[in-house]
């Protein structure tokens, strides 16, 4: 395949090589706002307190390596669980009629409307010794005390956070699959389960890979949840970094450990091939022509599983759709339950946050409608949307540039850079943000916060738009060009409208991410500029303030509004809408 790619094409008619320059704004933005602070932090690994490699040596201590291993273990386990519960959900969503599909997708995304912290708080309530889940388990005769500070508890929390990240890309890929080949398998004597295993599953490999990698990476870098739900036996490396940095002031060792974590994540991703194998359905030939790429997925011939599938088929169990639907309903419930807990607690009569709550009062609502909370909410409603729009514009342009440029440099430079804010644990760079913002006089300002928060949303915007571009048949662009449209007109009238639903999804994702982003504001905003997540963080982690339950309840209402809006959007935009959520055209 390598002989097909050739930089010579820059002179050829057709798409100009210059289209890659669309990636430039995002790249420059990230270099300035992201890479510079990051380097400032990482450099301290070798300079603080004295120059040398002692921090690196310390970071490689057996304890740290053990923690790193545990981090991978936990993140891996959470990812596996997310796959196990997320795959059926994605499958059902992809096969559902458009309306239902929209509802279910919103159902997957909606939990993101509620702060991670609030959900974690929900889990705390649900999983505690006298919480509903252990109580129910005891009632069933299991010897459980508390699920808090156990692996199980941690997995509950982590999985709930990462499941949407896994599900959404997978749905996008599944929607592209032409189900007639599953039908063909049926006519060839394979039952539904066998056909699924041998024909359907292999075709979803791209989505599995991207989704699982995203989920895994986010799990690897998390620390708020493991701290609260996992306890000391589930300490993850990012927690240690945070601890060293925040509580012990050991900046050099923290940077060294952060470096270790970052390198590890990059290596793991390299193994998972997110960056190296973008999974495009099209291969650019040397003249900028496109040919479909050969599949990157092989066959699944795992004898015992095929045997199992045959048993499922023989017993007709695989035809019982209600089993699948029942399971999916349970998963959706699982995704929603922690924030539902906040509704009763928001009416709690006392400060103690227990479930079921004691007494009844509206005091926490009164508390929320004070300048303290409303100010934070107001700032959030400026910072999150503006940064999300900025990130989406930059990310989408970059995706178009990277995907349509014939110069490989854009991809090789752009993809790792654009994804790095997702990959490098945010706690690492946040200190850098703090220092940089102080130095340029933007610390504790709305503009400064918008700039640095934008970096966190760019990867989502990029990944989602890129997926859309990869499945957008270049033929449309050719057709438009042959009708006299300039490249800019093709962008405006063809590419952007076709991938518009994906861009809206990217925008939504960016907004939700930032609506919930706590680590960056904890560092990059000071006393005067406070955003809701930071306020929630303080309320939960510091103040034990049930006002967070009010925030949780209100965000459920906002999520419901978004759901209705999404439905309206779907019914308005007819064919385009979900048809193209991350893939331009129907399976061919």
């Amino acid at each position: 395949m390598t002989d097909r790619i050739d930089a010579r094409v820059a002179r050829a008619p057709g798409n100009g090589g210059a289209i890659g320059a669309l990636a430039l704004p995002a790249i420059v933005f990230l270099l300035v706002v992201y890479v510079v602070p990051l380097i400032m932090v990482l450099v301290t690994a070798f300079t603080d307190p004295t120059p040398g490699l002692q921090n690196i040596e310390a970071a490689l201590s057996p304890t740290n390596l053990q923690t790193l291993l545990r981090t991978i273990e936990i993140a891996g386990a959470a990812t596996l669980v997310a796959i196990a519960i997320g795959y059926p959900v994605a499958y059902v969503i992809a096969g559902a009629p458009p309306r239902l599909q929209a509802v279910m997708l919103v159902g997957v995304i909606a939990p993101w409307m509620t702060s991670v912290l609030i959900r974690t708080f929900g889990w705390q309530v649900l999983l505690g010794r006298i919480g509903p889940i252990p109580t129910a388990l005891r009632w069933l005769g299991f010897d459980v005390q508390s699920l808090l500070q156990t692996w199980a508890g941690l997995l509950f929390g982590l999985v709930q956070i990462i499941a949407p990240l896994f599900i959404l890309p997978l749905v996008a890929v599944m929607r592209q699959i032409d189900t007639s080949n599953t039908r063909a398998a049926l006519t060839q004597g394979a039952g539904p389960a066998e056909a699924f295993w041998r024909v359907y599953l292999p075709q979803t490999r791209n989505g599995l890979q991207v989704g699982a990698t995203l989920a895994f990476v986010v799990a690897l870098g998390s620390f708020v949840i493991p701290d609260i739900l996992g306890g000391q036996d589930a300490t993850m490396t990012a927690s240690v970094v945070n601890d060293l940095l925040n509580r012990q002031g050991e900046r050099g060792p923290a940077a060294a450990l952060a470096l270790l974590l970052t390198v590890t994540i990059f290596l793991l991703i390299g193994l998972l091939r997110l960056v190296t194998a973008p999974g495009s359905r099209w291969i650019r030939a040397r003249d900028g022509n496109y040919t479909p790429s050969p599949p990157r997925f092989g066959r699944l011939r795992w004898g015992p599983i095929i045997g199992l599938m045959r048993i499922l088929d023989w017993t007709r169990l695989s035809s019982q759709r209600w089993i699948l639907w029942g399971f999916v309903a349970l998963v959706q419930l699982f995704l929603f339950v922690p924030q539902l807990v906040t509704i009763p607690i928001s009416f709690s009569g006392t400060r103690t946050m227990v479930f079921p709550p004691e007494g009844f009062s509206l005091q926490w609502y009164e508390q929320f409608f004070t300048p303290d909370w409303l100010g934070a909410a107001g700032t959030t409603m400026i910072v999150a949307p503006v940064a999300a729009v900025l990130a989406t514009v930059l990310g989408a342009l970059a995706a178009i540039g990277v995907e349509r440029s014939r110069t490989r440099g854009w991809r090789m430079l752009g993809v790792p850079l654009l994804l790095s804010p997702l990959i490098v644990p945010v706690v690492v760079v946040s200190v850098g943000f703090y220092i940089t913002l102080i130095n340029v006089g933007l610390y504790d300002t709305v503009i400064g916060l918008i700039l640095v928060e934008t970096t966190a949303a760019i990867p989502y915007a990029f990944v989602i738009s890129q997926a859309a571009m990869q499945s957008l048949d270049p033929l449309y662009e050719r057709a438009a060009r042959s009708m006299g449209a300039s490249m800019s007109r093709v962008m405006r009238k063809v590419i952007l409208p076709i991938i518009a639903p994906s861009i809206i999804v990217a925008l939504l994702f960016g907004f939700l991410t930032l609506f919930d982003e706590v680590v960056i504001p904890v560092f990059a905003s000071g006393i005067d500029v406070t955003v809701l997540p930071k306020r929630v963080y303080e309320a939960i982690v510091v103040l034990s303030d049930p006002t967070v339950a009010v925030v949780g309840t209100l965000s459920i209402i906002v999520a419901a509004i978004v759901l209705v809006a999404a439905l309206v959007f779907v019914s308005r935009s007819r064919t385009a809408s979900l048809e193209t959520i991350t893939g331009g055209e129907r399976g061919r």
């Binding site: 000391q232 300490t235 240690v240 982690v541």
Partner: protein, 329 residues
């Protein structure tokens, strides 16, 4: 935002507290009257222990967010080790002259009061409260999940007492021995930040452990079935310090002056259930109140005073080893 007071002309106090019930009480009883009296608004942020990383970064950038830090002996040691604090001008703190003990008067930290951590336990689980630290290690007689703070400070003392060491022989502490004991309790315990411990106490997820008396007492008031003992309660001092390069020094100084003034010190016992730092204030406490204060005349026989000296000397290493131990998993 909390800063809506602004303080453009007059300056303001930005205070790094511990959060939770404690900060609520401080605000209600001291900061609100302070603002009323002096016109300096107080912005409160909370985290426990103090966020050394951001403070350090702020100090290095010569523009820390905070101008008042509340510290215990371990926090003070940590800040000193990183050279984050500036010398206090005691000439502007007349109240300090009346300190009951010279240890309250640190060059970079003005003592406010003595506070205490007690052994608490869930009475719905155990009936009567546990009585001594050894009970905490007796997982057979008293099964259930224990909750400790995720810091060496005070956890070490509780552990040492838990292995039966006499309070008089406590210092210097033998860290190796302490970690052995910690290893024993580890499977039955969680080690979390104070606010999470507080939450889990309320949610009755943990059933016993050491915790600040204010928080324990609030839980009792909230109707959570917990009891506690004054036996071998751990006593430490809270200091107010000012970071180097802090802004609005006059506001910060005014607060320290205010907090050490006789009128305020006189209210400490009632407001916080802590023992005030000045002789006059201590003398004014009646017997009945004293029985519910840490290291008061009544309870002092049962108190164990945390050694600021030991922590100043060993604090950094202790915390480091402790977080390593925690991390081991």
């Amino acid at each position: 935002s909390p800063a809506s007071g602004g303080g453009t002309s007059k300056g303001r106090v930005v205070y790094a507290g511990f959060g939770g019930t404690f900060d609520d009480l401080v605000k209600k009883n001291f900061f609100d009257p302070f603002t009323e009296e002096t016109g300096f608004p107080v912005v409160m942020t909370g985290d426990s222990p103090p966020p050394v990383g951001p403070i350090q970064a702020g100090v290095e950038a010569e523009s820390p967010d905070w101008n008042i830090l509340i510290l215990n002996s371990s926090g003070l040691a940590l800040c000193l080790a990183n050279d984050l604090l500036q010398d206090l001008d005691y000439s502007k703190i007349p109240g300090a002259a009346d300190y009951a003990d010279p240890s309250y008067k640190h060059p970079k930290g003005a003592g406010m009061w003595a506070f205490g951590d007690v052994l608490w336990s869930n009475t719905a689980v155990f009936g009567d409260p546990l009585e001594k630290w050894e009970d905490l290690w007796d997982v057979k007689a008293f099964p259930g999940k224990r909750g400790f703070l995720n810091q060496a400070h005070k956890t070490f003392e509780a552990t040492a007492l838990g292995m039966g060491i006499e309070p008089a022989d406590l210092y210097p502490m033998d860290m190796d021995l302490i970690f052995e004991r910690l290893d024993e309790i580890r499977p039955h315990a969680v080690f979390l930040d104070i606010n999470t411990i507080n939450n889990q106490l309320s949610q009755q997820d943990i059933v016993a452990g050491p915790l600040n008396i204010i928080r324990v007492r609030q839980a009792v008031l909230d109707g959570i079935p917990v009891g506690y003992t004054w036996n071998e309660h751990l006593v430490d001092v809270n200091y107010y310090g000012i970071p180097r390069h802090a802004k609005d020094l006059d506001a910060a100084s005014a607060l320290i002056d205010y907090m050490t003034s006789p009128e305020v010190q006189a209210r400490v016992a009632e407001a916080l259930s802590y023992t005030p730092a000045t002789k006059a204030a201590q003398a004014a406490i009646d017997e009945e109140t004293a029985a519910n204060l840490p290291a008061s005349e009544v309870t002092d026989s049962q108190a164990l005073h945390i050694s600021a000296d030991w922590w100043a000397e060993n604090g950094v290493e202790a915390e480091k080893r402790f977080s390593d131990w925690l991390q081991k998993g």
